[in-house]
Each structure stands twice: as structure tokens, then as C-alpha cells.
Symmetry: C2
Subunit: 355 residues, 2 copies
């Protein structure tokens, strides 16, 4: 090892789901939305004057921030935007989690939280979920340097109530509490109204799932003016211009199209509820999902085998070779056609496995 | 102050140049390129299928990385890409500057370096430039945790030789040396070939200046495979998907259009050389610039007055109210028409000031 390497920050990076380059696959592995984005986003893209590429974007991305603020009926000063919710949460970790006490998050949850804690040198503690994958509010009353969990949780899809979340926030006035609502629009209720009551609450959302725009990288967060100001100060100390001009335009247009948003969310919810029936019939069990995926375990066949067999049939789902969750597959809700192909493939695979 | 605020990272953020929203202004304050991007970027934008917005981008942004690697005749493993060179340099600070010894950079230089050092808690030391704004290689032989400077330097525009830079790298095998070449294409020679010889050299470039795409946020860097691997590990621990789909497409197309790139750089160099004559005639002195801006001081009129008077006439240049550099204006090279309007305004302002 060369001597300059002594000063290198060494990490085990997060592994995102596969992005296969082949065409004609059914991609149910990264919780993307199976429907195209709002026609308003397409129109904004087409209206974009490419000559404007030469000019820096507005560092405050006001056009996008204002569109989000208006849509969600908050003040622009209560909105933070970033390059996907990963950027938003990463900034929040850097801004708020600077205590010697450990931050707390569930043991089964978004697998980026411990990666951020490691890269930023933040002490952390994983709190086990209950046997039925619930978060026990009482576990979050111990001394801590901050709290984060997704609602609904990932990869379980389990939704917690606003009352439960409020009890966690109430018990932790000395910490920033981050609720990661990446999947909230598929049947949950956002805790957004609580930001008016608790200045230490950050609510994070994204355009990647319910807004059909994972490819554009837009995340956002709501919080008290004070909280957002602190985050923006750190953001402007890291990279002043993160939202590019095309993204700002398309994002602003998309978020204003509430009708399309509600319609596609409803379609996905419909397909999901049907998937619950079909997967049950096929011998799967799963916690009740309020997200755009189902975290399913088969009563006899191994998750690894099903995962590999589906892949052979060009159907990609998510599988983790990790303790506790290695018996499960996380299956993104696709179109009705995607799902029919999945059920057909599963039927075939399970018949073969049962031989 | 609420108790949760004790754990907040508190910083004084970087202040970017103004992005006025008015139309019909002459914008010579943020070193943007006055010409539109390559027609190939426009074509890529128009060819982009908006339905693809729903899918995550390839986390490795291979299409863009490959285009850069081919254009610059290096291997893809020697290329890092990020959301503007600010993102690239920020990642490099986080990855490489983890020593107790101070990192070194010039006292007059890009004003983001000390902001990054502050936000990441990196000790740093500013090394004074010589009286004629040169970097003295010998000053960089002292113990350090890393070295960074732009070449040409900003906001002076002064270019250092490859030999001088190689001597700094040679003297520092224990540190990563970052050469920030944001302005190299306006007449300088990149030290890119040295990455084959020194595995601790990182060469950073950007699409914001010579590639006419500040609004798209693309920065890139070259280094040894080992160096780039370390940076990617940290990048994937912070945000796996930073380059969005539109950016990857447009960036890849633009970088392959070498002809347009060389033609616009040549136009700007021509305008700059003429600007040197005209500004001299108007009573300005300046270090010889090899960038797309001129760092100019007037023999009698104050920089602040000229700055304000130009602004009244809707001509924006950059002025810092800081020691040493407060006598100077940084004037971006615009089109010949932009510059003629500047000379006319300066003539008027200086006549008035001399009364």
C-alpha cells in the first residue's frame, strides 16, 4: 500500500439493485414505477431550450422548491431538494447527526442507513423489529444522537401509524427525527402536518417511486424553517448547484400534475392488492404492504432458488443474501401484464421445485 | 437554541456568483460560456425518450464515463464523474484528505476549498501566492495531508507549467495532489498524461466552462485506477445515482463533439486576447490570463465603484469584498458583442469617475 493511501476514507459502499442493460426484461427489482412520468414532465422536457444548458441553474432551485411548496401547502423555506432522496438523507446525516451518542434505526430497513453512518463516522445502533416486522416506539426512548426509519418501512412494506410516529418524536426533543417516506403515496398518510408542531422533524420524500421519475434524481424534504436552513447551509458548503436546469423544469411540471399522480398511484395500489391475493394462492406469506412492493417468503421453496429461476426467465426481483431477510424476495409492483408474467413464471418454478 | 441544535454541523456556506433572473442582462460574473452547447447535446436532449425517466440511471454512468475515456484516451477505470466539478472535488476531499496534517492550497484561489475543509473538519493552510500571483512550488514541500490548486488559478487566470506541477507531485508521494483544471481548455496544457506516472495525482475538469454546459452539472476527474476506485467507493457510500439519465445522454454526446469544442474555445481565446488590449487601453492591469476570464484592477477607479456602476447598466461582473482581491474585478469573457458593451460602459464609467 502506498503511503498516501493511509489517509483514504475506506468504506464498504452500498450496493444498489441491478440495472440490467438487456431489453425485454421484466424489472421488478428496484421499486421503479411501471408507468411513464406525467405528460407535463414530457412537455417540460420538450419545451426546454437547449441553449440554456450553458448557464448555471439557480442554486436555490426556486422553481422546483416553489412547485413542491405550493403542491404540499407549505412555505418554500420548509422545503429542501436534492439529487434523489439519497442525497437528501445523506445531507441530513451530515447536518444533524454529530453526537457521540448512537443514532437509532431498525435492524431490517433501508440498507443505506448504516453505510452513511459508516462513511460519516456516526455511531449507530440497530433496533430489532418485532417478529411481525413492526417498529416498537418504546425502543426509541433510549439516549440517542438521532433517529431515522422509513414509513412504510423497506423492504417490509409495513406502515406505522401517525400516532406511533408522533410518540417517537415526542420522546426525542433532543434529537432530529427523520421519517423517510419514499413509499408513503401508495396508501399511507404522511406525517408532514407534524412539522408545524415539531421543529426537529424531517420528512423525506422522492420523485423516484410515486412520481415515476427515478431517472431524473429528485428527492425532497419538509421540516421547520430552522431545520431546512441548517441543511441548506451544509448543502451550500458541499455543492451549491446540485439540481440541473432540466431536472428543475421537469420536476416542477411533474409535481404540479396532481391528477396524473393520484391516478398512477391508484393503479399501482390496485395491482398490489391483487398481487397479495395471487401470491397467497401461490403459497407466499408477507407482511401487509402499503408500498409499491411486497416482501414475500414462500412456504417451501427457497428465496434464492426462486430469485435465480425468475432471472433465467428475465424477471428481476430483489434478493439479499443476509441474515433474517434471506428467506424473502422483494417484488416491485409492475403493470398488470408484468405481474401476470410473474405469476405464470412462479407457478412454473414452484411446480418444478415441488417435484 | 433547542437542544437538538447542539448536534448540528454549523458552517459558513460558499456564496456562488449572482444568478440574476432579469432578462437582457450581460452576464460576465460566473465564467459561463457565452455560446450554446454542442448541437450534439441538443440532439441527445431531443432524442431522449421521456418514458425512460421512470427508470433509475446506470449507477456507474458508463455511457458518459466511456465517452470521456475514449475522448481523452484513458481507460474508463481512470475516470470519475460527478454533479459538476464541485461534486467531484468535494468527494475527493472526503476520500483523500483524512490526515491530521493540514492540506495546502493558495491564499488566493477558488473560494470553495476552505469551505470544504471547514465542513469536513479538515485542517488546512493557505500558502501565499507571490506578488505577481504565481504559485511557488517550493512552498508545497512542507508536511501536509494533501494539496489542491487550480491551473490556471482562479480568480487570477494565471497558468503554471507542467514542469512546476510535476515538481510538486514529485515532492509529495505521501499525499494526494489535486489539480483543478476547470479552465485548462482556454490555452493551457493539461497534466492528464502524468496520471500514468503518479498514482496520487487527481486531475479534475468540468463541462461548465469549455463545454458550455454549466446548467447540466457535469464534472469529471482522471486518476490512477486505484485513486478512482477509492473515490467511487466513497461516492457509492454517499449517493449511488448522482448522474441522471438526461445528463448522461447529453454529456456523452457533447464530449464526443471535439470539433465544436475546439471551435468555441478558439473563439473565446480570440475574444480574450482582444479584451487584454482593450482593458489595457482603458487603464486596467491584470495578470496574463489563460482562462475564460480576466482578473483586472484599474489604475485609479475603485473595483467596487466599477462593479456597482456596471450593474446599474445591467452588466454583471464578479467582485469580492475581501482582503488583497478587493481591488480587482473578475470579468468573464463573453461574446464579442458582450465585450463591446462592456468596453463602452467602462469608458463611460471611468470618464465619470475621473471627473
Amino acid at each position: 500500500m502506498s503511503s498516501w493511501e493511509n489517509n483514504v476514507r475506506k468504506v464498504v459502499p452500498y450496493t444498489p439493485g441491478e440495472q440490467p442493460k438487456e431489453k425485454n426484461i421484466i424489472k421488478l427489482n428496484t421499486n421503479e414505477n411501471p408507468y411513464p412520468p406525467s405528460p407535463a414532465a414530457k412537455a417540460a422536457l420538450e419545451a426546454f431550450d437547449s441553449d440554456d444548458m450553458r448557464l448555471y441553474p439557480a442554486p436555490d432551485a426556486a422553481e422546483l422548491v416553489d412547485a413542491i411548496a405550493e403542491t404540499y401547502r407549505v412555505k418554500p423555506e420548509q422545503v429542501f431538494v436534492g439529487v434523489g432522496s439519497d442525497d437528501v438523507i445523506s445531507m441530513a446525516f451530515m447536518t444533524f447527526f454529530n453526537s457521540d451518542k448512537p443514532i437509532l434505526f431498525p435492524d431490517i430497513t433501508y440498507s443505506f442507513y448504516d453505510v452513511w453512518a459508516e462513511v460519516y463516522g456516526i455511531p449507530y445502533k440497530r433496533i430489532p423489529l418485532t417478529a411481525d416486522f413492526r417498529i416498537n416506539a418504546g425502543d426509541y426512548s433510549q439516549p440517542n444522537g438521532g433517529i431515522i426509519f422509513p414509513n412504510p418501512n423497506a423492504p417490509t412494506g409495513v406502515l406505522e401509524s401517525t400516532e406511533m410516529i408522533e410518540s417517537v418524536i415526542k420522546a426525542n426533543p433532543d434529537s432530529v427525527v427523520i421519517i423517510d417516506e419514499a413509499y408513503i403515496d401508495f396508501g399511507g398518510t404522511s406525517v408532514l402536518p407534524l412539522i408545524e408542531k415539531y421543529e426537529n422533524l424531517l420528512v423525506v420524500q422522492t420523485f423516484s417511486k410515486s412520481r415515476n421519475m427515478a431517472g431524473m434524481r429528485i428527492g425532497f424534504a419538509f421540516g421547520s424553517k430552522k431545520l431546512i436552513k441548517y441543511m441548506n447551509d451544509v448543502k451550500f458548503s458541499v455543492n451549491s448547484y446540485t439540481m440541473n436546469r432540466v431536472t428543475i423544469k421537469c420536476g416542477a411540471a411533474a409535481v404540479r400534475d396532481g391528477e396524473y399522480f393520484r391516478a398512477t398511484c391508484a393503479k399501482i395500489i390496485g395491482t398490489r392488492e391483487n398481487a397479495k391475493k395471487r401470491l397467497s394462492q401461490l403459497g407466499f406469506t408477507f407482511p401487509d404492504s402499503m408500498s409499491n412492493f411486497i416482501f414475500a417468503k414462500h412456504k417451501t421453496a427457497s428465496a434464492k432458488t426462486i430469485f435465480e429461476e425468475l432471472k433465467k426467465r428475465k424477471i428481476f426481483v430483489r434478493y439479499w443474501n443476509k441474515p433474517i431477510i434471506c428467506d424473502y424476495l422483494r417484488i416491485t409492483i409492475g403493470t398488470d401484464n408484468d405481474m401476470q408474467a410473474l405469476y405464470d413464471a412462479l407457478e412454473e418454478i414452484l411446480k418444478e421445485a415441488a417435484k
